[in-house]
């Protein structure tokens, strides 16, 4: 399971990212392309992670996926202490006395340190990639997709932030005969999505994190009215043409994983006659990830946030859905 729950210290919401035509037409940075994923859709899959997200969930996925721009990551566990980077940095932005090693105010992202680091402790997060190259990387796994009914999953960050690029990429993947799946937070302009994305996807994994709009704003930075509306529309399409749509709720202790929130979400899904949803188990092993990109994490000492959710509790959460006739297996 990819470590996907990373939290930031309440950064300002990235509203500016949303519906920005500029952004929509821009080429995204690719955070990572991960092969052999067995948890991001059916079969063996290649997951393409886009960099940049319009939400700012406090427990966020990968903190490095929030900003659309490039960042430098420093993994102190990989560092061998040779100081080559310190000596090579033209801006003198590196100092072991800095709280996160890199003084990001001084850093110009020139990448010289990354180039010179022998151990890979310093790395550039986010790079531009040509669509053909992404497709080629995925296509070499086609024999695995064939035997496992797998394919490519586009995830993030939020891939729909870059509608045009995403659309183009999907088209190419479909031309290769590859099964496509998009993981989305649901915050997108529906018309654009319907026109540019929908024709090329086989499956959508759609996050419904918090039902209450105020709570959603509190924890994710924006209200969720658009997210829910979009979901209702997609659900109607799904009922009509068989598009596979799966609602998913990440279980975040005391935030999304509350009886109230889960009851509300299950109730919402039930009104839409949905029979299948998914609860994503909380993975507490993400705390050191913030440090690498120089952010802090206020939940580090929070017991609920640093332990696995007990099995019995998971069962109770599941039963909330099961009682409403919704499978979560």
């Amino acid at each position: 399971m990819f470590i996907r729950f990373i939290l930031s210290n309440r950064p300002p919401p990235n509203h500016n990212l949303l519906f920005d035509d500029n952004m929509m037409q821009k080429t995204p940075l690719i955070l990572d392309i991960k092969g052999n994923s067995l948890d991001d859709g059916p079969g063996i899959r290649t997951v393409v992670f886009f960099k940049g997200c319009p939400l700012s969930c406090v427990w966020c996925h990968n903190p490095e996926s929030k900003k659309a721009g490039a960042e430098i990551s420093f993994d102190k566990t990989e560092c061998v202490g040779c100081d080559t980077c310190i000596q090579s940095c033209p801006e003198n932005a590196l100092d072991r006395k800095n709280p996160f090693f890199i003084d990001r105010a001084q850093c110009t992202l020139c990448g010289v340190c990354v180039e010179n680091c022998p151990s890979g402790a310093l790395s550039m997060v986010g790079k531009t990639m040509r669509i053909e190259d992404i497709v080629a990387m995925a296509a070499k796994d086609k024999p695995f997709y064939k035997n496992s009914n797998g394919g490519v999953t586009l995830s993030g960050g939020e891939p729909t932030l870059f509608m045009d690029f995403l659309s183009d990429l999907l088209k190419h993947l479909k031309d290769e005969g590859i099964h496509t799946l998009v993981e989305t937070c649901g915050l997108f302009e529906f018309q654009q999505f319907e026109k540019k994305i929908l024709p090329y996807i086989d499956t959508i994994y759609y996050d419904i994190k918090i039902h209450d709009p105020d709570a959603h704003k509190q924890f994710c930075g924006v209200k969720n009215d658009l997210i829910l509306k979009n979901f209702i529309k997609l659900n109607a399409i799904s009922a009509e043409n068989g598009l596979e749509l799966l609602a998913r709720t990440p279980l975040i202790p005391n935030i999304t994983a509350t009886d109230k929130n889960l009851n509300q979400i299950a109730g919402f899904l039930k009104t839409l006659k949905i029979r299948q949803a998914r609860l994503l188990a909380y993975n507490p092993l993400w705390h050191e990830k913030n440090e690498k990109i120089g952010t802090q994490n206020s939940f580090q000492n929070n017991k609920d946030m640093t332990t696995w959710i007990p099995k019995e509790k998971l069962e109770t959460y599941r039963s909330i859905f099961t009682e409403k006739g919704i499978h979560t297996g």
Binding site: G43, V80, P143, F144, S148
Partner: protein, 1008 residues
């Protein structure tokens, strides 16, 4: 044996020398004056006379201990003629040896602190004498080591994580049903036999408990009977002083053994016959490596790894009656005498470079069971008699055939004796059900092996009795059972056809499962004799009796049948290390359902079966132009290696070759660093990197190819040496241990009138296991890329870092491990490099003349030698640190990629034309606990199927987490049957040495 000592060097004063001489005198006095010890100087043939010399490299120590006419004396001058000479690297090593445990003694040899030369039996005898004096101290030392090691483990992991061990047990409880039925499955309604678990078979379950709980014991029956016969009938010459024909001598001795060994039937068994007289017996083959255990007879019951009991009676028989007779009459000593301690043998005996299996046995083949089952020994004897007419009297051919008949008669006699045992046991049995079984067994053994088998019960009994018979003829190492599903299916079908009702048929299917279960457990009734060194070199291995399932029939039809699934059921339920189950998957003919079942059994047992792509294995053998029906009839032998069933002496594991030694020698101008021995040719020193007067860096290897050629030159040298030794030992086998019984069931030996040891078989070859392919590939890539292509580091600096185990250059260590695309990362260059090495090896081995005809073949699998050789190897340019294990088989280094698919793709695209002795590709995959059985099996299936689609040859999966393995290290009591794949064979994790356990833990782990 002669060793000429330099006489010119003046003896310097050395306290060690004085101390050694004093200690040896104390030793001598003990044996001269204590009757309890003196008696050990004598064998039933008279006093055992021999001499051991002691010296140091520097000449500071010199002493000899002489055993003559029942007197032990010590001399400060080493006589010209000593049987065994011990040369120590330092003074310290001399005293260390005298107080060492057997394990420590071995490590002194392995690590170059001590190099013995000369007769090894006498060295072991000397160690036995030492052990007579010191064994209580040795035992205490061993006990102390164990306690310390246990304490350390418990400190790290004080409480057992029972949820982990429970999780493994729970896997047995979940069972999938088959969703389709293969076309040649005629009777099984659910081929996965999901209704059955081990609890349905209490008889077999009890045997499984015995397997895990009864301590094995050394059995002297075979060597005693064989030695008795030779004492009465002569060895070199017969009673009339006429030189023995080796074949006839062997055959007469064999017949005597078979007629006189105890015909035993284990309590409640459905199969008659035992390999030894013990519940789990260790067989001693005195003409093989039997005397290697001499020095450990007193300590072997107390050693940490794989202890065996040795009763006092057994000890006395072995010491007084058997070993002295064979001290020079074994393979190694024959070569030593005949070729005067050749260099190729000296290299072998230092262990770090290669190991030649013929010093122990040839074995490693598959007898023609279908012939034996359908004709019986009587049928084969008539065939031989017919053939005999075409050969002249007293010709070699005629003698060979006569020897075969004697052996077949011996085998028949044994089965008739078993029939008598069964009949008399039946007569005194009160339980009616058991009485009936015994009566049936009596009839069975009367029918087989003499006459053709008619039922599954007869066929299985005939196979087992002949199996015992073959083990009585020659040391079993990788003697394999072959395509048992194919060969037993006709008997199963014949039995089923006689049954009319559904319930009768269901009952019979259950009986068939139980019978095969009994057969598997019979195969566990013996263990190979392993001196402690084998625990380090071949840790946890049984004799690797491979069974092969599935694939295609000789005609090319789908071979998966009822018996395939019955064997898989038994494999699943028992989850034992040996028989070593190998499954052929033919992508064109076999079903996905079958492959899914293989994956499920692999998941449940966590390690077996090993899976082969039928098409690729057959393609790798194309160059030999084998007849197609024979090719389609291939089976795995020992670990993974292909042998054409019943027609092929492929000695597929003639050697374990440490290829990395060639690399180390190339880096050191022919010198092996750990052995501190300049044995290879001069290929050039790696320069100092200093700038010389002409302003040119001192660099002899101008291009990468120059260095590659140096590696090749060293590699050729060790290949040549190893093959030379192989061919010498092959001659020893022809003289010491021809195998007429085996020859009678290997195609063409009868018609040619030739024993298998001299090329009687239809097909001949010898196969090498080449170890360290990934480590060498990665090291060469680092040299190429960083030194030559990118010029990031000078060769001299890299060499210096390697010599210093990278301790002073962490940045360079980080660079070599992180910045060079390794084999298994998806790099085309890395795959090309691996192919280049493999192609050289294939072509060069293939070009060498092979003594029985046919060719030398190469494979890339390692048993456990990747750990042992790793221990004996310094740091490598790849960044692998000194003493660490190599990767198993040709598995990529764990660092190569985080993506398993990169590993799979790279291994799959290697050119299989260079790999005609197969590979072992290990993959460690971990199921997600929440996943259903179907999801996990489907994921495994997707990996294997795609790997095969991409041209992969063989794959073996360990389905267990490192966390579980760590828990098992500290709490072995919860994991007695935790099965792991090493490289080609299975072992119980808790019986492995610590280095091997760590290697398994450190393997890359991929979640599912």
């Amino acid at each position: 044996m002669f060793f000429f000592q330099p006489t010119t060097a003046r003896i310097k004063f050395s306290p060690t020398n004085i101390l050694l001489n004093t200690l040896l005198r104390v030793f001598a006095a003990n044996f001269n004056f204590r009757p309890g010890l003196k008696k050990y100087l004598k064998s039933d043939q008279g006093w055992i006379d021999f001499t051991i010399g002691f010296r140091t490299d520097s000449g500071s120590v010199k002493a000899a201990v002489l055993f003559k006419n029942g007197k032990v004396s010590v001399s400060k001058i080493i006589p010209e003629k000593v049987d065994t000479m011990l040369t120590f690297h330092s003074d310290g090593a001399v005293l260390k040896l005298l107080g060492a445990t057997p394990t420590e003694q071995i490590f002194m040899v392995l690590k170059g602190q001590l190099s013995p030369k000369g007769n090894q039996s006498y060295l072991n005898l000397f160690f036995f004498f030492l052990s007579l004096l010191l064994n209580s101290k040795q035992k205490k030392l061993m006990e102390k080591e164990r306690k310390i090691s246990k304490k350390e483990l418990l400190k790290e992991s004080p409480t057992a994580k029972t949820e982990l061990s429970d999780d493994l047990i729970k896997r047995f409880g979940v069972r999938m049903k088959a969703d389709t039925i293969d076309k040649n499955v005629k009777y099984l309604k659910d081929p996965f036999l999901s209704d059955y678990g081990l609890d349905n078979f209490p008889r077999v379950k009890k045997y499984l408990d015995i397997h895990f709980e009864v301590k094995p014991e050394v059995c002297p029956e075979l060597p005693k009977l064989v030695t008795d016969w030779h004492k009465a009938n002569g060895y070199e010459t017969d009673k009339n002083g006429k030189p023995w024909n080796p074949l006839l001598r062997k055959a007469h001795a064999y017949k005597y053994l078979m007629e006189n060994r105890k015909p035993l039937i284990r309590g409640n068994d459905l199969i008659a016959g035992t390999t030894t007289t013990k519940d789990i017996g260790v067989v001693v083959y005195p003409e093989g490596h039997g005397t290697m255990i001499w020095g450990e007879l007193l300590t072997v019951p107390h050693r940490t790894l794989n202890p065996y009991d040795v009763s006092e009676e057994t000890l006395n028989i072995l010491h007084h009656e058997i070993f002295p007779f064979w001290s020079k009459r074994n393979f190694k000593e024959w070569v030593r005498e005949e070729y005067d301690s050749p260099l190729c043998q000296q290299i072998d005996e230092r262990f770090a470079i290669y190991f030649i299996w013929k010093s122990v046995t040839i074995s490693h083949t598959i007898p023609d069971f279908p012939k034996l089952l359908s004709m019986g020994t009587s049928g084969i004897i008539s065939e031989i008699n017919d053939q005999m007419k075409s050969f002249a009297k007293n010709s070699n051919e005629k003698n060979t055939l006569e020897a075969m008949i004697l052996c077949l008669e011996g085998l028949t006699a044994y089965s008739k004796n078993l029939a008598k045992t069964a009949a008399s046991a039946a007569a005194s049995e009160n339980n009616p059900q058991r009485k009936a079984e015994l009566e049936k067994l009596a009839k069975t053994c009367d029918q087989v092996v003499e006459k053709p088998a008619r039922t599954l019960d007869e066929a299985v009994n005939a196979m087992w009795i002949s199996w015992v018979g073959l083990h009585m003829e020659s040391t079993n190492a990788g003697l394999s059972l072959g395509r048992l599903d194919q060969w037993l299916q006709p008997y199963f079908l014949a039995d089923m056809e006689k049954l009319n009702s559904g319930p009768e048929q269901a009952k019979y299917i259950k009986h068939a499962v139980e019978l095969i279960g009994c057969f598997y457990m019979r195969c566990t009734d013996h263990l190979p004799l392993t001196p402690d060194i084998a625990n380090w070199v071949f840790g946890g291995s049984s004799s690797d009796q491979a069974i092969t399932l599935g694939g295609v029939t000789p005609e090319g039809d789908d071979g998966v049948c009822d018996m395939t699934y019955i064997f898989l059921k038994v494999t699943e339920m028992l989850s034992i290390r040996d028989p070593n189950v190998n499954a052929r998957f033919n992508p064109d003919k076999n079903s996905d359902t079958y492959l899914k079942r293989l994956c499920e059994v692999n998941l449940i047992t966590s390690a077996t079966p090993s899976m082969h792509n039928d098409n690729e294995v057959m393609a790798s053998l194309e160059e030999f132009n084998y007849e197609i029906e024979d090719l389609r009839n291939w089976s795995a032998t020992g670990c993974v290696e292909p042998t054409l069933s019943g027609k092929h002496i492929g000695h597929t594991n003639f050697q374990m070759m440490n290829m990395v030694a060639a690399l180390e020698m190339a880096l050191n101008n022919g010198k092996h660093p750990l052995l501190n021995w300049k044995l290879g040719p001069n290929t050039g020193e790696i320069g100092t990197g200093k700038i010389n007067n002409d302003n040119i860096a001192d660099k002899p290897f101008k291009t990468f190819d120059d260095f590659f050629n140096a590696f090749i030159t060293q590699f050729k040298f060790i290949i040549d040496q190893s093959i030379e030794y192989n061919e010498m030992l092959a001659q020893a086998h022809q003289v010491i241990r021809p195998t007429p019984l085996l020859s009678s069931v290997i195609g063409d030996c009868i018609s040619k009138g030739k024993d298998v040891t001299i090329g009687g078989a239809k097909y001949n070859s010898s196969g090498a296991a080449l170890i360290g392919l990934a480590d060498i590939t990665d090291s060469l890539l680092v040299i190429k890329k960083l030194v030559y292509d990118d010029k990031k580091v000078s060769f001299a600096d890299l060499k210096k870092a390697v010599d210093e185990n990278f301790e002073n250059d962490p940045a360079l260590h980080a660079m070599v491990t992180k910045k060079v695309p390794l084999f298994g990362s998806g790099s085309d260059e890395a795959v090309a490099m691996a192919d280049r090495i493999a192609k050289f090896a294939h072509d060069y081995y293939g070009s060498k003349k092979h003594y029985r005809g046919g060719k030398y073949t190469v494979g890339f699998w390692s048993m456990s030698n990747h750990v042992a050789y790793g221990t004996l190897t310094g740091a490598l340019p790849s960044g692998r640190l000194s003493g660490k294990a190599f990767t198993p088989g040709l598995t990529p280094e764990p660092n190569a990629s985080k993506n398993l698919l990169d590993n799979i793709r790279d291994v799959a695209r290697l050119d299989t034309k260079n790999i005609n002795n197969n590979i072992a590709f290990n993959v460690k995959v971990i199921p997600t606990p929440e996943d259903t059985r179907e999801k996990t099996v489907n994921d495994m299936f997707s990996y294997v199927k795609t790997y095969f689609d991409l041209g992969g040859m063989q794959m073996q999966m360990n389905v267990v987490t490192s966390e579980t393995l760590k828990d098992a290290m500290a709490h072995p009591e919860n994991y007695r049957n935790l099965l792991v794949r090493i490289s080609g064979y299975n072992a119980y994790f808790v019986t492995l040495n610590k280095d091997m356990q760590l290697e398994l833990i450190e393997r890359a782990e991929y979640g599912m």
